[in-house]
C-alpha cells in the first residue's frame, strides 16, 4: 500500500503524472513538463511537496554530544538557527543516510531521506546507549514545503509577521505561519535561492494553497520530482542511493568536507581512517556528453577499452541542453579519455568541474 502526502489529491486533481517514490505516491511532473518546471525554478519560482521526507527530533541534556557521536558533522558547537549537512555512517564507514541538522532552541531536527527514515530512526535508537537524549520520529506529524527560485523571498516575506529579516543561506527562523508554529530555513536542493518550510502536517494544504495564490503574479508553479532531480544534478549534489550508499563510502563520494576527523570519536571514524590510510580507490567525477547522448544511471564508463566505473546519476540538463552525469570511477585515471557505453556504442565523455551550472544561493 503506497503512502500519500496531504497534497496527494491536489496533485491528482492538477493532472500530475504520479510515480512511486520511497513508498509514496508523488508527482513526477505536472502538465507543464520537467523542462519547463526546471526552467521556471531557475528563472522565477517553484513549489515542492516534500512531505514524504523524514523528520527526527533529538533533544535532551546530551543531544549535542550524542549527535557528535552518530554523525560525521560537528553538531555540539552549532548556534541556534544554523543548519548543517551531515552523514550517518555504519561502523564499517558505509553511508546509512545523508541529512540536514537544524539546531533549534529546544531541540535538534534531523531532516532525512524518505526512503531511509525508518532505518535511520531505528539506528538512532540503537545507538542511544547511555546518552541522556530523547529521540522522536516526527515524520507523520510535520510536513515540508520547499519554495525555490529567485522570486521566493518576494513571495514568502509578506506572509511572515516579522518578515525574513536578514536570513542567510543555511540559517533558519522559528516563527509562525497561518497561526501555527513554523520553521523556515533558507535552504534547498536546487542551487537557487529559496526556502524550506516545516509545519504541522494538517496545516500543509492551507500553506500550499496560500503560497500558490501569493506566488501567482511571480510565476510560481508546482514542481515534481523529475525537475527536483535535474535541478540537484546540475549542482552536482549527492543523492542517497546514487552517489551514496552502504557500498559507497563518503570519501569516494567527495564528501570529505562533511566529515570532521578532528572530533574525538564518531561512528565510522576508524573505518574511514583506515580507508584514508590505504588510499581511496574510487572517485566521483563529473561529465558532460556531446550531441544526442543522455547518460543514464548505471551506464558503464570506459577508458582504454576497459570498464572503469559507472554513472551514479545521469540526465539531460535543461539549462545547458546537454547530457550530464556523475560517475564513480577508479581513482588516478587523471586525464584519460573517457567514454560512455550507450547500449553497446561508445560515446565520448568530457570531464568537467562541478557544479555543472553556477549556484545562486544567498550566502
Amino acid at each position: 500500500m503506497l503512502r500519500k502526502t496531504p497534497l496527494y489529491s491536489w496533485h491528482v486533481s492538477e493532472g500530475a503524472n504520479m510515480t512511486e517514490f520511497a513508498g509514496y505516491q508523488m508527482p513526477l511532473h505536472y502538465k507543464t513538463g520537467i523542462i519547463e518546471e526546471h526552467k521556471n525554478v531557475r528563472l522565477r519560482a517553484g513549489l515542492f511537496d516534500l512531505c514524504h521526507m523524514g523528520q527526527i527530533q533529538v533533544k535532551g541534556r546530551q543531544a549535542g554530544e550524542y549527535l557528535d557521536y552518530v554523525l560525521t558533522q560537528k553538531v555540539s558547537d552549532m548556534p541556534d538557527g544554523l543548519v548543517r549537512y551531515g552523514l550517518l555512517l555504519d561502523f564499517s564507514g558505509g553511508t546509512i543516510d545523508d541529512l540536514m541538522v537544524y539546531k533549534r532552541k529546544e531541540d535538534y531536527l534531523l531532516v532525512v531521506n524518505a526512503a531511509n527514515k525508518e532505518i535511520d530512526y531505528t539506528w538512532l535508537l540503537e545507538q542511544k546507549g547511555l546518552f541522556d537524549v530523547e529521540i522522536n520520529d516526527l515524520s507523520d506529524s510535520y510536513g515540508i514545503i520547499a519554495l525555490q527560485g529567485p522570486a521566493s523571498e518576494n513571495i514568502l516575506a509578506p506572509l511572515l509577521a516579522d518578515g525574513l529579516g536578514n536570513l542567510k543561506y543555511l540559517r533558519f527562523i522559528e516563527t509562525e505561519l497561518l497561526e501555527v508554529p513554523a520553521t523556515v530555513s533558507r535552504t534547498g536542493y536546487t542551487g537557487t535561492d529559496g526556502f524550506e518550510i516545516y509545519l504541522p502536517l494538517q496545516a500543509i494544504p492551507a500553506l500550499w494553497n496560500l503560497l500558490l495564490e501569493e506566488g501567482k503574479s511571480f510565476g510560481l508553479l508546482p514542481i515534481g520530482l523529475g525537475a527536483r532531480d535535474t535541478l540537484r544534478l546540475e549542482m552536482g549534489y549527492s543523492l542517497y542511493g546514487h552517489e551514496l550508499s552502504r557500498e559507497i563510502n563518503p570519501l569516494e563520494a567527495g564528501l570529505k568536507w562533511a566529515i570532521k576527523f578532528d572530533k574525538d570519536d564518531f561512528i565510522g571514524k576508524d573505518a574511514l581512517l583506515k580507508v584514508k590510510e590505504e588510499g581511496v580507490k574510487r572517485e566521483l567525477l563529473a561529465f558532460k556528453t556531446e550531441g544526442r547522448v543522455i547518460p543514464r544511471n548505471g551506464y558503464k564508463i570506459i577508458a582504454d577499452d576497459k570498464e572503469v566505473g559507472f554513472v551514479t546519476s545521469g540526465t539531460y540538463s535543461p539549462t545547458l541542453e546537454v547530457g550530464i552525469a556523475l560517475g564513480l570511477v577508479e581513482k588516478g585515471l587523471g586525464d584519460k579519455e573517457f567514454y560512455l557505453d550507450v547500449r553497446g556504442r561508445l560515446k565520448p565523455l568530457e570531464k568537467t568541474k562541478l557544479p555543472f551550472v553556477e549556484a545562486s544561493v544567498k550566502k
Partner: protein
C-alpha cells in the same frame, strides 16, 4: 484522457500506424508521449534499412528515460522525419501529425490486420492506467 484517432491502427508498445497504399507512417501515441514527458532526442533509422516486426527501429529519449520504438510489421524505411532532429518536442506537441517518426514500405499488407484497432488500444491503456 489521451487522444486515440479512430482511423489509425495501434501496437501494444504504443506506436500508431497510418496506412497509405503499401506504405505506413509510424509515430507514438498521445498516451505514450504523455507518459514519456518532454522528449529531448530522437535517434532515427536510415532510409533503406529493413526491419522485422518487433525490431527496435528508433529511440526516443525524454528527460525521464529512454524508449525504443519498434517496427510494427516487416518493412523497409522509405522516409524519416528529419524535423525531429532539431525539434524533438514535436512528438509531445503533435504526436499524430508533425511528430511522425518514420515511414515503412510494407511487403505483406495482411500483417496490418493483426494490429490493434482504436477500440482495442483504448481498452489496453485503460488496463495500464
Amino acid at each position: 484522457m489521451s487522444k486515440i484517432p479512430s482511423d489509425l491502427r495501434y501496437t501494444r508498445t504504443h506506436e500508431w500506424v497510418k496506412v497509405d497504399g503499401d506504405t505506413i507512417t509510424v509515430g507514438i501515441t498521445d498516451y505514450a508521449q504523455s507518459e514519456l514527458g518532454d522528449v529531448v532526442f530522437v535517434e532515427l533509422p536510415q532510409e533503406g534499412d529493413d526491419f522485422e516486426a518487433g525490431a527496435a527501429i528508433a529511440t526516443v529519449e525524454s528527460v525521464k528515460g529512454v524508449s525504443e520504438i519498434y517496427a510494427p510489421v516487416d518493412g523497409v524505411v522509405v522516409a524519416v522525419n528529419d524535423e525531429l532532429e532539431n525539434v524533438p518536442e514535436l512528438i509531445n506537441e503533435d504526436p499524430y501529425k508533425d511528430g511522425w517518426i518514420y515511414k515503412l514500405k510494407v511487403e505483406d499488407l495482411s500483417a496490418i490486420d493483426d494490429l490493434l484497432t482504436a477500440e482495442e488500444y483504448e481498452a489496453q491503456i485503460a488496463k495500464e492506467e
